[in-house]
Symmetry: C2
Subunit: 313 residues, 2 copies
């Protein structure tokens, strides 16, 4: 029932659905399960030391015969080693973020790879196209994790990005069910990238405490915080309250960075320390009420998509 898309061939996938590559929650198991379910699976390399990335890619290859990719934030010091390992392991699909698309796109394209960069404004999207990217992920304000500073929502963003670009646009932010997939396609997106929904699957490596907290979350339980440091959407907890207190006092970047410290996201999302950890999640967390396998999740999305399409005419 889902429409044809130039990205199906480019990524060699059945459905125009991309499982976001996220820190701490999207390892080999999730990426392979997503690939096996007909989606593009992405290993979130951002939180992985080079050796772990290598072993996760090898593990994913043992779990699926389908292709998968990696998400690579460009701000870590190990990024060039990570690229080397991914290429050595035969990875052909790179989703890059948190840096300039000019930096590695040509290099990766020359190696025969597909390169997609994440952006949050039409202006950034145009820079991705000019850098030679095959597609962009345009991510709205409601998305989890790190976020743009202009606060443009998915509904407002996607048509404006599409108007500027010739390359395909992947919509992200606010997409957890099939009606939202249909809405993104109606806006002109060639595919969707979903994070929060895949965090709450059987195969995600998020700590069960974190998954259970998402299942209990209510609308309005996330907020975009640390806009003066690096904007990030957080689920409300004790750490969130501490950030809020600092921000109310107009804290400096340095004070925020000191509070954040190192390893907060791992503590919350992987270790399940729900009070002191940083819990990155999208606004749609309050829609998630089950922990299906990825296959069941995708089946459900396709079913909901077909119901949404029927509403339109």
């Amino acid at each position: 029932m889902l429409p044809n898309s130039p990205l199906l061939k480019l990524f060699n996938i059945k459905y125009p659905i991309i499982q976001a590559g996220m820190v701490w929650v999207s390892g080999a198991k999730l990426a392979a399960a997503s690939a096996n379910a007909g989606c593009l699976g992405l290993i979130g390399a951002g939180s992985m030391k080079p050796d772990l990335l290598r072993s996760q890619i090898i593990k994913a290859k043992s779990l699926t015969k389908q292709s998968f990719g990696i998400n690579l934030p460009l701000l870590y010091k190990d990024v060039e080693v990570q690229i080397e390992i991914a290429l050595e392991q035969g990875i052909k699909i790179f989703f890059t973020s948190a840096g300039s698309p000019k930096k590695y796109t040509s290099f990766l394209k020359d190696k025969g790879c597909v390169v997609v960069h994440v952006c949050s404004t039409p202006e950034q999207a145009l820079k991705c196209e000019q850098a030679g990217c095959d597609a962009v992920v345009a991510e709205g304000f409601e998305a989890g994790g790190h976020n743009g500073i202009d606060e443009i929502t998915t509904m407002a963003l996607i048509p404006q990005v599409i108007k500027e670009l010739k390359i395909p646009v992947i919509a992200a932010g606010g997409i957890a069910d099939g009606s939202q997939v249909a809405a993104a396609i109606a806006l002109g997106a060639s595919a969707v990238q979903m994070g929060t929904r895949f965090v709450c699957t059987h195969e995600s490596s998020a700590h069960d405490n974190f998954k259970q907290m998402i299942l209990q979350s209510k609308p309005g339980d996330t907020r975009l915080m640390m806009k003066n440091l690096v904007p990030v959407r957080l689920l409300k907890n004790k750490f969130f309250d501490a950030v809020e207190q600092l921000e109310k006092k107009s804290a400096s970047k340095e004070e925020l960075a000191q509070l954040l410290g190192k390893g907060r996201a791992k503590l919350g999302m992987l270790d399940g320390q729900l009070e002191d950890g940083e819990l990155e999640i999208g606004q749609v967390c309050s829609m998630i009420r089950d922990l299906p396998t990825v296959q069941n999740c995708v089946d459900q999305l396709i079913h909901e998509y077909s119901l949404a399409v029927k509403r339109l005419s």
Copy 2:
């Protein structure tokens, strides 16, 4: 091409499109033109003294044989006089906002009126249903003017509101073209309410300076401000900068209220003082690049809607 909706009969309209009732920009001319184009037109009563409201309703009746309604923020002191005048003039459709839906819904329903209340969370929406409203407008973070404090975007909000309610849901926020109308319907909305798009029509009473500034606006040129007083989405100008400066210093409610003063919105939106006035507008302002008649605007929306529907299967 637009789908059937229970609201077509309820409002006696051809298309499930509602022209938002806004302060200073939606008087008799705009409401009548919207009604004549097959949409629901709303007179924005919020900025009108009782006598002006009466004369605007009389004028609108002279410009259209179709029914139209009024938008009534419940926070003004004249609200009961406004209701009396609207009833005396035969108004049967009331969109209420900025107050409790419990306050006047039963009274208006007893007079044979249709009552719709504006909300920004699923919890508020449920209260509207319980108060006896016929429908709700669920308005996302990207919307112009006054806004909820939970920052939930249209994409994330609509499916969650629909899940809670039995009555129809009207989507608002981030809707300026036909692809966004289609996206809202895909999300499950029974209709859309559009503000920013109708501000930039021939028949809107927004000052031409304001309209021209919208045509020049770029993505990211609005921001939700004054969250500690009454959240409002503003177009960036000198007044915006002054608000921002105060907020960076963690200003009190009183300081913000003092800066705002009285008549700021009229100064900007009606009088066209683009620096010192308050310019309320939605994130989609940067999509608006023309000033059509309402009829041409609606024709274009229907055309774009049909293109969007084709993308879906």
